[in-house]
């Protein structure tokens, strides 16, 4: 049987994102959570594979206890089983530690997986690192930014756009993909499904002890955050006004090299030294 794992993250809704400009900290408790869009697409990709080939989908997330919400949603859409990794000792894990913990949970709970599907990046941190690092931890091949996938025997055929190249890839399984939001538009959640998801299914909740890990998310992460601040003050915010022609000349004098660099053209005015 096709054994699929979908890694999901709960992220704050953009419009709800709130931070305290004085302390520079995110008021995360005020931010309403939702399933990260790319993870949602990854789940949809898994469901399509299941529709075609049959199989079993395990959705897994790591986060605070409230992250259970996105697992319920995954169950409502069609996941078969859910795992919630929640533990204060996991808090503050960077991508290195997050992928480490996810890998240990997968090895313990569903070692016989065929494909791990992740969103290509999350809308809150956007590092796009956990997927590729999870592939490394599981010692399996991986492909990021996949837009289309098809299963043939024990090979996953994929298409993606990579740096202006359209690539067709083939990966031996087990393997990991990270899915973009360009295809696999998520299906609607049936209301009955939501009801069922709260009534019927149990969610496996694991902490660091269950995984036999002696860890501290913050201490064991290779990276360390020194400080966080609001970047708006960093915008140059140069104001220009006057006749259009004069402004354009001033703009190209100050930023012509930057703009020209982007378009690979020299925007120096004729006879003018830069």
């Amino acid at each position: 049987m096709l054994n699929l794992i979908v890694c999901i993250k709960q992220v704050p809704m953009v419009s709800e994102l709130n931070w305290d400009p004085r302390t520079g900290t995110l008021k995360r408790d005020l931010a309403e959570g939702m399933m990260n869009p790319a993870c949602h697409h990854a789940l949809e990709a898994a469901l399509r594979l299941k529709d075609l080939h049959g199989g079993h989908i395990t959705a897994i997330t790591m986060g605070p206890p409230m992250a259970e919400e996105v697992l319920r949603e995954a169950l409502a859409i069609g996941a078969d089983r859910c795992i919630l990794l929640t533990d204060r000792r996991m808090a503050g894990a960077d991508t290195f530690m997050t992928s480490f913990i996810l890998a240990r949970a997968i090895e313990k709970e569903c070692p016989d997986f065929n494909i791990v599907l992740c969103g290509c990046h999350t809308s809150d941190s956007e590092t796009a690192q956990v997927g590729p690092q999870l592939a490394e931890e599981l010692k399996i091949p991986g492909a990021a930014y996949v837009e289309w996938l098809e299963l043939k025997e024990n090979v996953l055929r994929m298409k993606r756009l990579s740096d202006n190249f359209l690539e067709t890839l083939e990966m031996d399984l087990p393997g990991l993909v990270t899915v973009t939001t360009s295809q696999y538009q998520p299906r609607y959640v049936p209301l009955a499904g939501i009801q069922d998801a709260y009534d019927k299914y149990d969610i496996t909740t694991l902490d660091a002890d269950d995984l036999k890990l002696k860890i501290t998310g913050i201490k064991d992460s290779p990276t360390r955050i020194l400080k966080v601040y609001s970047p708006d003050s960093k915008k140059k915010n140069i104001e220009m006004k006057g006749p259009a022609k004069i402004i354009v000349e001033e703009l190209l004098e100050k930023f012509g090299r930057k703009i020209g660099g982007e378009i690979q053209k020299d925007l120096k005015a004729y006879g003018q030294d830069q």
């Binding site: 290195f96 590729p132 740096d163 104001e239 006004k241 378009i263």
Partner: protein
């Protein structure tokens, strides 16, 4: 027992070298390697280290010379016919081996599609930290790389370090730093390393690849985007943005009111419900700056906004806020660019 410590293979840096991964696949579109060499040069001046490029592929002389001309003191080269394709697994293995052999202090990788997948895996193999999409890189008084990166959806910036493990690794989006002018008289050391014969069998293969025709450029991938709002004045005037886009090789985006007024195709909507864009340069003409729009452009690099109203939200979000009629300024910019690009 601490499982993390056991799996990690971090080393203590032997050399103070700063490495830049030579990513040349889209050389003419993406000069991120040259931009990183430039920044690495600034950092190296503070740590007294050498700037090194690392490049894998086939027929690499052109790139090796470019890297030296743009600031590389040393270039590590592995050339082999089988490296012609940008094969993720092989490239990761090669980087891992070289890093373990030469032990650089810092590795910088361009945040191209390839780099964004390559760097996290290399970091994992080396048991070290990685910071994504740095917008600033500096050396602090302890000689540690301070990586400034967007946090929490780009609303905030974070200063991040990798205090103990080595190498210190960062990815940087194209256009973040500026390359230094080339100097073809500059000399550099070229270290050629034979292709190892004992690489693990590839489990991921590129079956087919082709360069995407330019016509099909998606606004999400564009380096330059011109966004227009109702301030352009009319449907006809809005069309001028397409001429500007052609001149700049960019794409046009529209705000919701523009789409509602049928000045532009709904496909062009840049906003929370539309496209999210991350151009290196964003021109914003006559856009007020509703949150649904600004949320979708928060990854843009240089933002140049034009609006009659200096207090428009969009003007506060811009690097350059031009107080002028959007349509008039667009016309003047097209005229001036035509003059300058003619050559």
């Amino acid at each position: 027992m601490n499982q993390t410590a056991q799996t990690a293979t971090a080393y203590t840096a032997k050399a103070k070298d700063i490495w830049v991964f030579g990513d040349y696949r889209n050389y003419f579109q993406t000069r991120v390697t040259l931009q990183l060499l430039s920044r690495a040069g600034d950092l190296a001046a503070k740590t007294g280290s050498a700037v090194c490029a690392v490049v894998f592929g086939h027929n690499l002389d052109e790139y090796v010379n470019e890297y030296i001309a743009h600031g590389a003191d040393k270039v590590y080269v592995i050339e082999h016919l089988s490296l012609k394709k940008y094969s993720m697994e092989i490239y990761i293995s090669l980087m891992e081996r070289l890093a373990k052999q030469y032990m650089p202090d810092i590795i910088l990788v361009g945040a191209t599609s390839f780099g964004r997948e390559f760097a996290p895996r290399v970091a994992k193999r080396l048991g070290t930290g990685l910071t994504a999409d740095c917008v600033g890189l500096d050396i602090n008084e302890d000689g540690i790389l301070v990586q400034t990166a967007p946090a929490f959806g780009g609303n905030l910036l974070a200063e991040i370090i990798t205090p103990e493990r080595r190498p210190q690794m960062a990815t940087v989006r194209p256009g973040t730093f500026q390359e230094i002018p080339h100097d073809y008289i500059r000399k550099g050391q070229v270290i050629r390393i034979p292709m190892p014969e004992d690489l693990p069998k590839e489990r991921l293969k590129i079956v087919h690849y082709q360069r995407k025709p330019h016509r099909g450029q998606r606004i999400e991938d564009a380096d330059v985007v011109i966004c227009g709002g109702r301030g352009m004045g009319s449907k006809n005037r809005f069309k001028k943005l397409f001429e500007l886009a052609r001149l700049l090789g960019g794409e046009v985006g529209a705000t919701r009111p523009v789409v509602y007024s049928d000045w532009a195709d709904p496909e062009l909507l840049v906003g929370q419900a539309g496209k999210h864009i991350n151009p290196n340069v964003l021109f914003s003409f006559g856009v007020s700056g509703a949150i649904q729009h600004t949320a979708a452009i928060r990854d843009a690099g240089l933002i140049i906004a034009v609006n009659k109203n200096p207090n428009a939200t969009m003007m506060k979000k811009a690097d350059v806020a031009i107080v002028a009629d959007a349509n008039q300024l667009c016309v003047a910019l097209i005229k001036e660019l035509k003059k300058r690009i003619r050559s």
